[in-house]
């Protein structure tokens, strides 16, 4: 009913200068919030040591834990939108002469950047701790993993933003944490390996499955215990498809919802 005219026009009305400025804001805020960086890294390392030792395959679990850490970081960018809403800054953005698409893209870039950095810090730390063993090619593997980290960050940020478009407070956010993030985490194959079991097909509806699989392709290359479920290019395409779907959906909901 609303916004019929100019709908198509405004979907392509993207102001990248503004998107980047919004992304920069997110990034500055991240750098100023040291406790957030430390907490998230500590949490991931804890997961890593506990599950790594319990399951006994450090390399396999490490490759799975990194996408999960990025998942938490990506969802957090959604939390920051809820925070903006509660603190009032959201209105300032919403009343500005910029399309909702510009805002969505700004959020996506900012969140992706922040979540990627978390991922890169973690992969560096786990490698230093020897989770992937020490080998001459390790450095190259890390470099190759960076694009996967970015893709994962992009995917999870888009998901975080999608979830937050209708969230008004933290109670709802906690609900999501319990009923979405944890299942996403446990069914992604990060800790328990589902490859080769009938359950694997079911896990394909979980976008995190592809991130974990892609990460294993890279970090466990040449490892005899390697277990990957899909070709790398399928993983990448799936990640992109999920991200795009999330972004389009959140831009749509965004346009249809009130801002105050």
């Amino acid at each position: 009913m609303l916004c019929e005219k100019g709908d198509i026009m405004n979907k392509i009305d993207i102001n990248f200068t503004v998107s980047f400025a919004l992304a920069k804001r997110e990034f500055i805020k991240y750098l100023r919030n040291k406790s957030r960086v430390i907490t998230s890294i500590f949490q991931s390392l804890m997961f890593l040591f506990i599950f790594g030792f319990a399951i006994g395959n450090q390399a396999l679990v490490s490759a799975g834990i990194i996408p999960q850490a990025i998942l938490f970081a990506g969802i957090f960018s959604g939390v920051s939108i809820v925070m903006d809403r509660m603190l009032g800054f959201f209105k300032e953005i919403m009343v500005a002469p910029i399309s909702r698409t510009t805002i969505t893209i700004g959020r996506a870039i900012g969140g992706t950047l922040v979540a990627s950095i978390q991922g890169i810090i973690l992969i560096t730390l786990t490698s230093i701790f020897g989770a992937f063993g020490y080998e001459p090619l390790l450095f190259l593997k890390i470099l190759a993993a960076i694009p996967i980290i970015f893709l994962t960050a992009f995917l999870t940020t888009s998901l975080g933003n999608l979830i937050s478009t209708r969230m008004k407070d933290f109670h709802q956010m906690q609900f999501i944490m319990t009923f979405l993030i944890m299942p996403l985490f446990f069914t992604s194959g990060a800790i328990i390996d589902f490859v080769g079991t009938p359950f694997f097909n079911f896990t394909l509806i979980n976008p995190m499955t592809y991130c974990v699989d892609a990460m294993r392709h890279i970090m466990l290359a040449g490892n005899p215990t390697i277990s990957v479920g899909l070709p790398l290019y399928v993983d990448i395409l799936a990640i992109l498809a999920f991200s795009l779907a999330f972004i389009i959906l959140s831009a749509y909901i965004f346009r249809k919802s009130e801002s105050v």
């Binding site: 009305d13 503004v18 804001r25 009130e258």
Partner: protein, 386 residues
Amino acid sequence: MATNIIEVKNLTKIFDVGTNQVEAVKGISFSVREGEIFGFLGPNGAGKTTTLNMLSTLLFPTSGTAKVAGYDINNEPDMVRKNIGMVFQEMSLDIDLTGKENLELHAIMYGVDKKTRNQRIMEMLEIVQLTDKANILVKNYSGGMKRRLEIARGLLHYPKCLFLDEPTLGLDPQTRRSIWDHIKKLNEEYGITIILTTHYMEEADALCDRICIIDHGEIIALDTSENLKGHLKGDTISLEFENFKALKKFEAKIKDFAGIHAIKIITPKTNMRQMLSKMAAIRAQMSGGKKPPAIMMDPAKHDAMSKMMRSLPTKMNIIIENGSEKVASLIKIANDSGIKIKSLTIKQPSLEEVFIHYTGRSIRDENGSRGATMREIMQRRMRSVM
């Protein structure tokens, strides 16, 4: 004559609050001329912010529509936003950024080019006297500083139409005056149409070409300040009596007095429900749990009762022609019937009187609108968490 930059038709907003519905704006229609300073004056909860939020496309109207700068708020919200600016009543700054970063981000979002940007940021920081605090994080600002930064931000770009929701609320008179000057300058030099809401009569009087008095979501009066005062056709005599009984007696005596345009009884702050529950409690107490007596006892005998009686109105305003000449005869009437007048003042009509005349109460009498207070509490809580 100038064309209309805003045309509002039957604009309505109904909020769903649980199972209840709150009709915050009840089908209002009005228009604002290009280049005008247009003011909304109304008590808390009148629907001013809701109206502004709909005009700025942040809220969708339940029904009705409006055109802002030629664009429909329902069908072309993006185009509307390209032509407006807004200063919100509630805080909308990013507290994790510095003052200057807040201003810069705003200017970028509104497409102000880099050279103009720096120059205007400097100018606005100077006007609101925050130049030396520009590089401090906003979370370390005081409440007043935040408000000043917020206004500075809103005045950084020059849109066709600028909405200011209670722009100078809680500011010191000096800052308020320099902001008024700047608003006037934007209006005169750049032809920016300004729509503001305010609680301050002086502000409405000093700035607005036309004033729209709004109450309970309805427009009660809309005219220039001069004309609104002219409608009152007379002076206001404010009287205070010993008690409610005296007031009622006096009211009856002057019923046929020549030249009186209106008699307004000023209701004290205590609200009705509170009073009724108090009354019930007193009755129960007096009857000792038995059936309450049909007729009340002499209030003077009971402390609680007389306390309650004191919250009944004892003040009235009489709008009367040539008030200063007639006041002597009014006092005589009171003396002759043994009514004691506690105090008396005569005023030429001011906007305040206009307001009381139309809404039946003073603008500062009410409690804050619920949405606003809840969010403020939230904001405060959030700030203490971080």
